[in-house]
């Protein structure tokens, strides 16, 4: 974010550096690019599967772009984007809860009768298990999802993203002391949840099952 306020900047086009003037979107994309993996992990930690996380990231970045002027430089750009993602996530959940009983109930109500006909009667694996690129990541994500959200996000930001308590407090809009206490409790819960995942995996191996 070192070019805030600049009316031009430079981008690599593979052949050299080009000066791009007045292209707000290119500038926004350049600013977001470096943060993309962290933002993606933030979305994965909020959502239950990769598809939902990627939708959330897309919707949030569009909203951030449309309201980019509201970022005044107070706090980190990453923190500002995380705030937008959280709001978008909460709004999406509320909307989903409101609309479940209408279109979804009509479509899913009828489909439940026919569902097994068209899947051979076999339930498909939990999409959460496919949310991550590796089994280790998937286990961690499952363990994180066992935590209440207020602990989950603190553990993510502190232990995965290795942010300082002050920055986490700024991102989540809570006092530093609250972040510390949530981190302590969240860490303890994560240890327990992850151990449960390990035990479950060991049990599955012993009984010849798979995850």
């Amino acid at each position: 974010m070192g070019q805030q306020g600049a009316r031009w900047w430079e981008v690599e086009d593979g052949r050299g550096r080009l000066s791009v003037s007045g292209n707000e979107r290119a500038r926004f994309e350049a600013e977001v690019e470096a943060l993309m993996p962290r933002l993606h992990r933030f979305c994965l930690t909020l959502c239950k599967d990769r598809e939902e996380a990627e939708d959330l990231l897309q919707d949030s970045l569009v909203r951030a772009y449309l309201h980019r002027d509201s970022y005044q430089g107070h706090g980190s750009f990453f923190g500002w984007l995380c705030g937008i993602i959280r709001n978008q996530f909460i709004e999406g959940r509320r909307s989903a809860a409101r609309r479940r009983s209408l279109l979804d109930s009509v479509l899913e109500g009828a489909s439940s009768v026919l569902g097994t006909l068209f899947t051979g009667g076999v339930e498909q694996p939990d999409p959460e298990a496919r949310a991550c690129q590796s089994e280790q990541s998937a286990m961690l994500l499952r363990a994180l999802h066992a935590l209440p959200e207020k602990y989950r996000l603190v553990v993510l930001l502190c232990d995965v993203e290795e942010l300082g308590y002050e920055e986490v407090a700024s991102i989540l809009g809570v006092p530093v002391g609250t972040v510390k206490s949530r981190h302590f409790r969240g860490r303890a819960q994560l240890g327990t949840a992850f151990q449960a995942e390990l035990d479950q995996q060991a049990c599955a191996v012993r009984t010849g099952g798979g995850s």
Binding site: M36, Q58, L102, V113
Partner: protein, 213 residues
């Protein structure tokens, strides 16, 4: 977080530390990146985001399964409501294809008094020639069924719950497809969910419209 803070925290299993390192390698898919870029381009141009491409094979299995259930539900529901007979013999897996498109955002200016129209760029033209059965969920406050009966002759109000209403109608598909026009009376944010089905495919779409003066 300082090293001193770290020593005061409950320890994590060694495996969890490895898992955290693995999780740090998680990145959005290439497809997602393309979609984000396209959505930002559309936002810059003041248009809705382009539709999402088909999911990669890695995720296609479970999505297709869930989608197929929803698709068949939509077809059956539509058939029951319209009294159409559906032939369930033959190869079920080729009976219908299902697509869920990402949400698209639109902005519209409406007059201070009266109302304005917004055209939702739905993909009903992707169906074969003929008609598609449409289910559309709208905010209840819009009284969609009252204001749109004129240009959607077969429009029916299916049900309302809380602040949402579900409607059903038929619309021309294929090359005869028309944009879906929605009348908006006051500024605000409106969400529309549309599911349209033909004999060959079923498409779910979501539109978010920001209306301002």
């Amino acid at each position: 977080m300082s090293k001193d803070d770290e020593t005061k925290l409950p320890p994590l299993p060694e495996e969890a530390r490895f898992a955290i390192q693995a999780f740090r390698t998680e990145r959005p898919s290439t497809q997602a990146r393309f979609r984000i870029q396209a959505a930002l381009e559309a936002a810059e141009a003041g248009q809705s985001a382009p539709p999402r491409p088909a999911p990669p094979p890695k995720y296609a299995g479970w999505r297709a399964s869930a989608g197929l259930r929803v698709a068949m539900g939509a077809v059956l529901t539509g058939a029951l409501m319209l009294g159409v007979t559906v032939n369930l013999d033959g190869d079920d897996s080729q009976l219908i294809s299902h697509e869920s498109l990402p949400a698209r955002h639109l902005s519209v200016q409406i007059p201070e008094e009266g109302f304005g129209w917004v055209e939702l760029p739905w993909n009903i033209g992707d169906h074969p020639e003929g008609t598609a059965v449409v289910h559309m969920e709208t905010p209840a406050e819009m009284n969609f069924h009252e204001h749109h009966a004129e240009h959607l002759p077969a429009l029916q109000l299916v049900s309302c719950e809380a602040d949402r209403c579900l409607h059903q109608f038929e619309a021309p598909s294929g090359s005869a497809a028309q944009p879906l026009r929605v009348r908006i009376h006051k500024a605000g944010r409106y969400e529309f969910r549309v599911s349209h089905a033909s004999d060959e495919r079923q498409i779910n779409e979501r539109f978010v419209v920001d209306a301002g003066h």
